[in-house]
Amino acid sequence: MRLRIVPDDTKIDFFRAAKITFGASVLAMVVSIIAALALGLNFGIDFQGGTTIRTESESAVDVGEYRNAIAPLGLGDVIITEVFDPSFGDDKNVASVRIQAQDGAESVSAETIAAVEAALQGVDPTVSFPSVESVGPKVSGELIQSAIFAVLGSLAAILFYIWLRFEWQFAVGAIAALVHDVTLTIGIFAAFQIKFDLAIIAALLTIVGYSINDTVVVFDRARENLRKYKTMPLRALLNLSANETLSRTVMTSGTTLLALLALLVLGGDVIRGFVFAIFWGVIVGTYSSIYVAKNIVLMLGVKRDWDKKDDPKAGTQFANIDA
C-alpha cells in the first residue's frame, strides 16, 4: 500500500477561483508592504550597527532587572529579549542584549562591553557570555547595500535565464511569483518583528531559488504540453500542466518541509529565524508557483506556434481568455 497524498488523476481547476486567489496574493503583498513600512523591520546589528551580547545563566532571566542594571551606563537604546529553546534545561537561561551603535565609534569599545558584562554579573553572578558581536555603522551600511544587490542581482539573473529558456511571459510570471514570495516573507518578519539580519537575506535568496525551481517545473510541463496540444486553450493547458505536476510539487514541498521542520524544532535557537524564513518561503513559494506564476502567464498569453514564424499575430490569439 502506497502513500498517496495527491490522487493519480487530479482535475483541479486552479483558475476557477483565480480572482480570489490572485486578489488574496495581491492583498497579502500590500499588507506585507504596509507592515514593513508601518512597523519597520527588526533589523539585526548586521544592518543597523551595534552590539549583541548573548547571556547564559543558571537562574531565570529577569529582563527588567537586566535593563535596570544596564540603564545607568547610558548606552541609549538597549533591547533585552529572553531566548527560548526546547533543548535548554532548567539551569540554562539565555537572553540576548542588544545595544545600539554608539556615536562616533565604529565598533563598541572593550570598556563598554566589559561594563555591560560587569553590570549583568552584578544581577546574576552565574551569567556568562557565550557570544559578543559588534558591527560598526560603516560596515552595516555596506552590508545593506550588498544585501539589496544580492537579492536584485539574483532576480535579474533568474529573469534572464528563464527568458533564455522559455518565452518572456514565463519569465515575467516567474519573477512575479518571486517578488510575491520575497514580499510575503519580509511581511511576516515585519509583522512578528523577528530579527532580520544577514542570514535572513541568505534565506530570501534560498526562497528565490526554491520557488523558481517549483515554478520552472510547472513551466517546463506547460512548455511540453504547448507543443503536444497545439489547439488546447491556454487556460486548460496550464491547468493540465499544474495537475500533472501537482503530485511532484506536493512531494517535494513535503520532503523539504519535513527536513526543515526537524531543523526548526531541533536546530537550536541561533538559526531558528533563518530556518523559519525558509520554511515560510517554501510554503508561499509552493503556493505562488501554482497560483501566481501561471496567472501572470495566462494574462500575458503565450505565442503558441514556434514552427510558423511567419504569423506574428499568432502569439496573441489566446491572450484574452480570462481578461
Binding site: 502506497r2 497524498i5 560598526g136 537575506i201 541568505a202 517545473v217 519535513l258
Partner: protein, 554 residues
C-alpha cells in the same frame, strides 16, 4: 533500452567510493584533527614519541582532509579592521618639514623667513614665507625635493604635489604616491598582524586583505575578539636609553633633552633618561623567551649590524654607568654596564612570568604597525555555543533525513529505497567535496545541507512521477523508466540551474556564515543532480536487469 555501458557504471561507483573515502575522516573528526596537528609539528622537524603516537591515530594512507568548521561552530573571534592609511600621509608630511625648511632656509635672502602653518589638514604641509613675491622661487625649490614614485604603477610620477597659495607653499602627497603608500601600508600591516597572531600559535587563523584598506582576521579557538585585538594592537616600543639619574618624584624637571619615566615593577621609582635612545627596537632582528642564569624567565635579543655597532660602542664607552631598557614608556630594568658588549646580543631580565616573557618576545619580534587599525566589526563566539550548534545541527539533520526517508519509502516503495541510497551517497559526496576543497562548514551551512536533503529527493521525485505517468501510456516498464528519465531531465536541469545561480550570487556577495551556506547549497545541488541522474538510475537498471519484472509499481 536501458543500457548503461560498463565503463560508466564503473565510473559512477568509483565516484561514490571516492566520496566515501574522502568523507570518512569527518566521522573521526577529533582523532584525525589531532593526527593532522601532530604531523604538522613533525613536519617542522620536531618529533618525539608522543607526537608519533598522536600522528599514528589516523593511518597515513587514508585521506586526512577535514571539513573546516566555521567560527560559529568552532568558536573564535572574527574581526574586520580598517587600516588608517591617512596616518601615514601625516607622518610623511611631518618628516618632510625639516627637509623643506632646510631647503628654503638656504635661500633665506630671497624667500625670507620660513614658518610652518600648524593645525590644518594633517595630510598636507603648509609653509609660509615672509617674502610673498618670491613664492614662485620657493615653489621651484620645494618641487626640487620631489622624487619619482617607487612603484611599478607610479609611471614616472613624482611623490609630492606642490602648489602655492599667496605666501603659502602647500605640499601634499601625489595621487600616485598615495596609492603606492596605501598599498605598502596595508601589506605591511597585514604582515605584522599575521606575524603577531602566528606567534601566539593558534590554529589556522585567516588573515586576509579585504577590499582597498581592510583586513579580515578570523582566529578560531581564541577566547575573544578583545584578546585578538590586544595581541594585534600592542605596539612594543623598545629603546635603550642612557640613565641620567634615579628619583622618586614623578614631577621632577628632567632637564632639556631628557625625559622622566616610571619603573615597571618598582613602585614610586622614576628614572631620568636622555631622550635620544642609543638603540631602538627597530634594530632588533630576533627576540626569544629564555631564562637567565638564575633560572628566571627573560628575553634574549639580537641586534642587526648597525644596532650591534651602536650598542657595542656605547657599552665600551660607558662601562660602570647604568643604562635603561625601556618598553612602552616604562623602564623594565636599568642594569649597570659591566663590560663591553660587542656581539650585538643581550638579555632582558625583569620580574617576568614565563607567559610575560613569551609575550614580550613576540611583541619585540613583530615590530610596530605602520598605521593604526580601526575595528569595524568584532564577533566573538564561545566554543560551547558552537558545540551546542553542532549537536543541534547533527540531531536535526538525522531526524530530518529519517523523516524524508520514511516519507519517500512510504510513497515510492522500492524506488523510495533507491532514492534513500542516493540520498545517503549524496550526503557523503557533499562532505567529501567539502573536505577536498577544505571548505568551511558554518551553521547556516548545516541548514543548507538539511535543506538539500529535502530538495535532493526532488530530482528523484520528478523522475518517479514521470515514470508513473509514462507507465499509463508506454509499452512496458523498461520503456517507462527510460522515458521518465528522458522527459524529466529538462525540468531537473532548469530548476537546478536557477538555484545554482542564487547559490553563486550568495557566494559572491555573502561573507562568513552566509558564504558557508552558499557553498553547501551549491554543492548539494551538484551532488544531488549527480546522484539522481546517475546513481538512482544505475540502481534501478541493476535491479531491473536482475529481476526483469513484467510490471513495476512506482
Amino acid at each position: 533500452m536501458m543500457h548503461i555501458p560498463t565503463w560508466r557504471r564503473a565510473l559512477i561507483w568509483l565516484v561514490c567510493l571516492g566520496g566515501l573515502l574522502f568523507a570518512l575522516p569527518n566521522l573521526f573528526y577529533d582523532r584525525v584533527e589531532r593526527s593532522n596537528d601532530a604531523r604538522a609539528v613533525i613536519e617542522t622537524g620536531l618529533s618525539d614519541a608522543e607526537l608519533q603516537a598522536e600522528a599514528g591515530l589516523w593511518p597515513e594512507w587514508l585521506p586526512s582532509g577535514l571539513v573546516n568548521l566555521g567560527l560559529d561552530l568552532r568558536g573564535g573571534a572574527h574581526l574586520l579592521a580598517e587600516v588608517q592609511v591617512e596616518e601615514v600621509y601625516a607622518a610623511r608630511m611631518e618628516a618632510m618639514w625639516p627637509e623643506v625648511r632646510d631647503a628654503l632656509a638656504a635661500q633665506r635672502d630671497k624667500v625670507g623667513f620660513v614658518t610652518r602653518e600648524e593645525g590644518g589638514d594633517p595630510s598636507e604641509l603648509r609653509v609660509r614665507i615672509s617674502e610673498a613675491s618670491e613664492a614662485a622661487t620657493a615653489l621651484e625649490i620645494v618641487r626640487g625635493l620631489a622624487t619619482p614614485v617607487a612603484s611599478l604603477t607610479g609611471g614616472g610620477a613624482n611623490d609630492i604635489d606642490v602648489r602655492a597659495e599667496g605666501p603659502e607653499i602647500i605640499v601634499t602627497l601625489s595621487e600616485a604616491e598615495r596609492a603606492a603608500t596605501d598599498d605598502r601600508t596595508i601589506r605591511q600591516a597585514l604582515e605584522i598582524v599575521r606575524r603577531r597572531i602566528d606567534e601566539v600559535g593558534t590554529r589556522e587563523p585567516t588573515i586576509q586583505r579585504q577590499g582597498e584598506d581592510r583586513i579580515l582576521i578570523e582566529v578560531p579557538g581564541v577566547g575573544s575578539a578583545e584578546e585578538v585585538k590586544e595581541i594585534i594592537g600592542t605596539t612594543a616600543q623598545l629603546t635603550f636609553q642612557p640613565v641620567v639619574s634615579r628619583t622618586s618624584d614623578a614631577n621632577e624637571n628632567p632637564g632639556p633633552n631628557n625625559e622622566i619615566l616610571p619603573s615597571l615593577d618598582e613602585q614610586g621609582v622614576y628614572y631620568i633618561l636622555e631622550r635620544n635612545p642609543v638603540v631602538t627596537g627597530e634594530e632588533l632582528v630576533d627576540a626569544q623567551p629564555a631564562f637567565d642564569q638564575n633560572g628566571r624567565p627573560a628575553v634574549n635579543f639580537r641586534f642587526n649590524p648597525t644596532g650591534a655597532r651602536a650598542f657595542g660602542d656605547y657599552t665600551a664607552e660607558n662601562i660602570g654607568s647604568p643604562f635603561a631598557i625601556v618598553l612602552d614608556e616604562e623602564v623594565i630594568s636599568a642594569p649597570v654596564i659591566q663590560s663591553h658588549i660587542p656581539g650585538g646580543s643581550g638579555i632582558i631580565t625583569g620580574n617576568f612570568t614565563v607567559e610575560e616573557s613569551t609575550q614580550l618576545a613576540v611583541l619585540l619580534r613583530a615590530g610596530a604597525l605602520p598605521a593604526g587599525l580601526e575595528f569595524l566589526e568584532e564577533r566573538t563566539i564561545g566554543p560551547e555555543l558552537g558545540a551546542d550548534s553542532i549537536e543541534a545541527g547533527k540531531l536535526a539533520a538525522m531526524v530530518g533525513a529519517l523523516a524524508v526517508i520514511v516519507f519517500m519509502i512510504l510513497t515510492y516503495g522500492l524506488f523510495g529505497v533507491f532514492a534513500t541510497v542516493a540520498l545517503t551517497i549524496n550526503m557523503i559526496l557533499i562532505f567529501a567535496v567539502l573536505s577536498i576543497l577544505g571548505a568551511t562548514l558554518t551553521l547556516p551551512g548545516i541548514a543548507g545541507i538539511v535543506l538539500t536533503m529535502g530538495m535532493a529527493v526532488d530530482a528523484n521525485v520528478l523522475v518517479y512521477e514521470r515514470i508513473r505517468e509514462e507507465l499509463k501510456t508506454a509499452r512496458g516498464p523498461a520503456r517507462a523508466i527510460d522515458l521518465g528519465y528522458e522527459k524529466a531531465l529538462s525540468a531537473i536541469l532548469d530548476g537546478n540551474v536557477t538555484t545554482l545561480i542564487t547559490a553563486l550570487i550568495l557566494f559572491l556577495v555573502g561573507s562568513g556564515p552566509v558564504r558557508g551556506f552558499a557553498v553547501t547549497l551549491g554543492l548539494g545541488i551538484l551532488t544531488s543532480v549527480f546522484t539522481a541522474i546517475f546513481v538512482t538510475r544505475l540502481l534501478i537498471v541493476m535491479w531491473f536487469e536482475r529481476r526483469r519484472p513484467k510490471t513495476i509499481e512506482v
